[in-house]
Symmetry: C3
Subunit: 341 residues, 3 copies
Amino acid sequence: MAWTVRALAETLGLEFTGDGATELARVASVEQAGPDCLTFVSRPSFLESLAETRAGAVILAPAHAERAHCAVLLAENPYAAYARAAQLLHPARVRPSGIHCSAIVDAGVRLADSVSIGPGAVVEEGAEIGPGAVISARAFVGAGARIGAESRLGEGSIVCHGCEVGRACTVQPGAVIGADGFGFARDGDAWVKIPQIGRVVIGDGVEIGANTTIDRGALDDTVIGDGVILDNQIQIAHNVRIGDHTAMAGCVGVAGSAVIGRRCTVGGAAVILGHLEIVDDVHITAMSLVTKSITLAGTYSSGTPLESNAEWRRNAARFRQLDTLARRVNALEKNKPGEES
Amino acid sequence: MAWTVRALAETLGLEFTGDGATELARVASVEQAGPDCLTFVSRPSFLESLAETRAGAVILAPAHAERAHCAVLLAENPYAAYARAAQLLHPARVRPSGIHCSAIVDAGVRLADSVSIGPGAVVEEGAEIGPGAVISARAFVGAGARIGAESRLGEGSIVCHGCEVGRACTVQPGAVIGADGFGFARDGDAWVKIPQIGRVVIGDGVEIGANTTIDRGALDDTVIGDGVILDNQIQIAHNVRIGDHTAMAGCVGVAGSAVIGRRCTVGGAAVILGHLEIVDDVHITAMSLVTKSITLAGTYSSGTPLESNAEWRRNAARFRQLDTLARRVNALEKNKPGEES
Amino acid sequence: MAWTVRALAETLGLEFTGDGATELARVASVEQAGPDCLTFVSRPSFLESLAETRAGAVILAPAHAERAHCAVLLAENPYAAYARAAQLLHPARVRPSGIHCSAIVDAGVRLADSVSIGPGAVVEEGAEIGPGAVISARAFVGAGARIGAESRLGEGSIVCHGCEVGRACTVQPGAVIGADGFGFARDGDAWVKIPQIGRVVIGDGVEIGANTTIDRGALDDTVIGDGVILDNQIQIAHNVRIGDHTAMAGCVGVAGSAVIGRRCTVGGAAVILGHLEIVDDVHITAMSLVTKSITLAGTYSSGTPLESNAEWRRNAARFRQLDTLARRVNALEKNKPGEES
């Protein structure tokens, strides 16, 4: 989908310099861009690469505009402007509206205009699909579930009965929204299952990654705020609440009833235990374990650094003696070597 | 589904006090319960909240019965009684028995009475589905697999050829039971695949979480005991054996041929390496790594506590010097500061 | 599928001793093998078990051939020879070639000879399926995707539009290849999605585990080399490149743009951060976190060893004081107890 520099600038509300008639067909990296490509540079350290780019246009902060010898789109936040430009140059695949003959859509489903329901998809009774929504091949929408306008359910994704997905959300393939929460009461040796009667309620503009799972609430709902982005293979347990614009990388696990603030970021494979609270603007680094509430914005970590296995073995063995070591240092400080404080 | 207090008490085999004619329509938390709600209190510290509840009835231990001003169901284990009462008030959605016209069921499949097979489900030749079992939309049952009475396969879940699921099991959506184990022999640079000819055999009353995977055995079977409960996104490798009533939280990984005892609990994202044995009643805390057999019941952990990233950086850097530090303390204790022992 | 010892030896290019007419129907462990079973011993420590085996034949290194009292297939690498023999004795289930009547295959799809497309599978326009490939029940092949000769897509697996799977690959059930990479630009509080226009390109002889996810590239492709083996529940982010014959155990996560060498092994639940490089022949132990490039072949680890929770609590508390402790030891070495260096 070709755009001129001028048309892009107008649509995105940006100023530009250079030849506004330059036609752009796609985005590319600075190194690989050709004359029909749009690229961007946001970090000053990459500005030097502009000298050799063959790009037709580049998005730059106004302060760096003079560094390019091609057309320039001026943006205070070049990366965000690039993202929006890329959406225009590379729109999501258009799905023909209508219901594929092999889809199984209950008679009582409320379908808005321009809905696309793909081959083998299943939509149960009482579900509601908003205008322009796409239910891809083999996706499943359970009884009474609601899918908001312009949202897309990827291939084979599952939205269980009664759950709600907001507007302009993307659910990647294989995600499962609204399976039973893991609620059991112990009775002697056995576990007695507690019916999970809450829902999952997902806000607007949310991204849910491939094979990510979000469980329905036990009594109340599991709630995902507006603009939340979740990568692949994430597990969100029942009754979790995630604040607006929080982002989680792949393989994160969040246990039941955790409440996570807005604008947080959670690194890959980090785990957040249940029944705790994390305030806004908290950042958890990859593979950290959060065992207590976090009441102060900031960055938090746990774990040990990577080492050669030989060094690690020596140090890890000492970890098991760490309390004793500390006591021995206490004793030394009291000038009584060898005696424990 | 409304129940009177008296009917609930009789069905659950519990005594009650107060108005047995009180009608209960659903369960709710103590705070949110209305007059048609059943609630419960199990921890003494929550007893004070009873003063203000509007619940129609509450489940309490006999010792606390006088604390409520509504009908009381008396149970030694209020939480377990609550779970059972909730099952009665909120029964699983009834699925019409019969085979949906879009399901693909091989002619040679043995279907018991009252089986429900949903839209787009696939059941291959020689499979056996027990009475009252539910095969949800788009679920897959492979050739010769057996699904026990009253078990439910969630939407899009997969039970591969020859595997067995016991009675009254719940397999959540997207779970995969019986994919090939990860068995390869190294030959120079290359890996040669070893056919995985064992099965997965799952006991009775087992819960398998959404997108959880349980691999088939290499030669023998992978075995999941009765009453085991597995949360979402868990990986169980080939030839693992899990004892009855063991519970695993989300994102746990268990490597090949590990043998895990009964009544164990494994915290979220913990990993258990292969070819080791864990006795009964072992508890592993979240994100711990089990690298050796555990021969004594108890609770086990690994990892480091969460800190601010600034503090963590300082301490983690010292972890790499830990063996040296310990040697320096040895030297100090010998009154030879600075000299290594 | 029965083979004589002689036929197996000829097919595998191995010498044998003993009765070449011995008929073998299956493989089994040394302990459980009967007269129609083939077994193997590769580790000298297991040679004693040969005295009591009832196996019809055993694969041994030539040096140990005299230890068996049954037929012996001689192989320098008994385990690899066993794997190949097991493939002959237990061939993958033959799928009838042809398209199941319930599969939805676009008119424009290019299907080679002997392709098998199972019930409920969906193959979109412009896809290409190579000779002998198997698309199992409910699998999905997106528009323009290519599946190489003799490759198998498991039940419910998903290969998104434009992605390529090489020859003789196995994609286990529930795997998702080619979902969008997790690419977003921050704009104030919000995240702006960056279209992911790259593909996933998978080499020959690759194994992809159940529910594993491999994201498509942002601009360039995500590339999986020949002979790579990936276990279940692995997450491979956009633009990752994995070298030939590298193996990853279950639950591993690899973040965006990481480049991993050839013949590496990555233990279960290890995490590799993004935009780093790992050379050939690196081995990462289970649950380690790789935060920097690794430029030297070898084995690497992070984490702390498992302890009883009581001991762990004491030691973990000291970890938070580790920098202070080290400073106190510095001070002691300067003979100024209590004073920080």
